[in-house]
Amino acid sequence: MKIAYYPGCSLETTGIEFHLSTEYCAKKVDLELWEIPSWNCCGASSAHTLDHLLSLALPARNLAIAEKEGLDVAVPCAACYTHFKNVEAEVRQNEEVQQEVAQVIDMDYHATNNTKSILEVFVDQVGLNAIGAEVKKPLEGLKVACYYGCFLVRPPKLGHFDDRTEDPQSMDDLITALGGTPVEWPHKTECCGAGMVTLSPENGLPLSYELLRAAQLCGADCIAAACPMCQMNLDLRQEEIKKKYKADFNLPIYYFTELMALSFGASPKEIGLQKHFVESVSLVAEIGRKETA
């Protein structure tokens, strides 16, 4: 199976582990990722805040390159994903928008292709059976709080693949297929504080704190994230949260693709686990021992 791949800016820098583990998993399940040549930034929330047309045109340029190849687009970052979906919807609904966007990007674009989150591609297109068949080191005994965040499920009018908006299950099903144990917790789709954690920690940090607290109270050993912004807030800021709230969570924040890659047999190093700020290697060092013993 071949699909266009849009890594997004974070996956080259702060979220590079998401990229490494996604590529590792794709290879294992014969998913060909065609990285969009000369892809550009989606504009993130900055374009949305400052200029509506720009917020349509930046994602559209990437989508148009993939459309020319007749390919759907797989997007790991949940924020890029929602911006792409938004452009698709507006271009499909409004011919004037379609024409204006095509003029601005200087390319034909009719939104005949679809944006898919990389979670959707793995769960729905590759399928849990094919994924289960690749598991060499089951995540036995690992209790995982699956964290979907905002943009994999909201707003529902964009037509998300996991339409159980308030209680999505796709990542939980994936973790189960990998041999792990998803925990029940109420914060699956709560906001992590996004950019406010950086812009105004006083107002943003409590959101990340609440997430960590909920995960721990519900018995999770770790959190599985699907967005580089969420992962960074929960991982990088955990030290600050520890100082501010006197709460030593010590919770590794994995990308779900990292857990998948580990269960497929990847070494922590080749998928970049040592790049986490909260030490994340020792918790998963024991997985698969039973299987290989």
């Binding site: 080259e12 550009n40 930034c41 805040t49 509506h52 045109a57 930046l58 340029r61 601005v104 990007i105």
Partner: protein
Amino acid sequence: MQSIELTATHSAAKDWEEKMKADGVDISACYQCGKCTAGCPMAESMDYTTRQVVRLLQMGLVDEALRSNSIWFCLSCQTCSTRCPKDVDPAKMMEVLRWESQKQGVAAMPNVIIFHKAFLEAVKNNGRLFEVEMTMKNNLRSRDLFNNVDLGPKMMFKGKLQMLPPRIGDNGEVKKLFERVRERRGG
């Protein structure tokens, strides 16, 4: 209790009802149940809660809404729009108010705008986000030189910060895209 002369603001209410409708936001449909505020993760930080911002618009008190910090604390998490029983789309309302607030130069949190501008400039110049450029510009302009600079070495140590700008090989296409958007704005 504060009293407000509403006949004077009636036409502003009507104007904004139409303006919001053009962006798919139905202000008049709101019956003030407060479900938006109940689910809002930033409600505690806001001077007016989401429900109150809708009410301000219904009453034509547009200036209060445009000058509120609420529209800048909103993180566009879409929880309100997901749960609204009347499909008002308060998250979109916040977005439209942000556009107008910066147009009028009355933003309560100018640093948020400085950040977004620095972000987009770095994207315009490089095609992708170049974090070093963005952070330097943001810190200089917001006169907060050391904002988050402690994170730089931490990121670099983990190999998560690129010191050189990205090269995307687009033959300047992204820069041209920005220019064409600007031309359409007539600026």
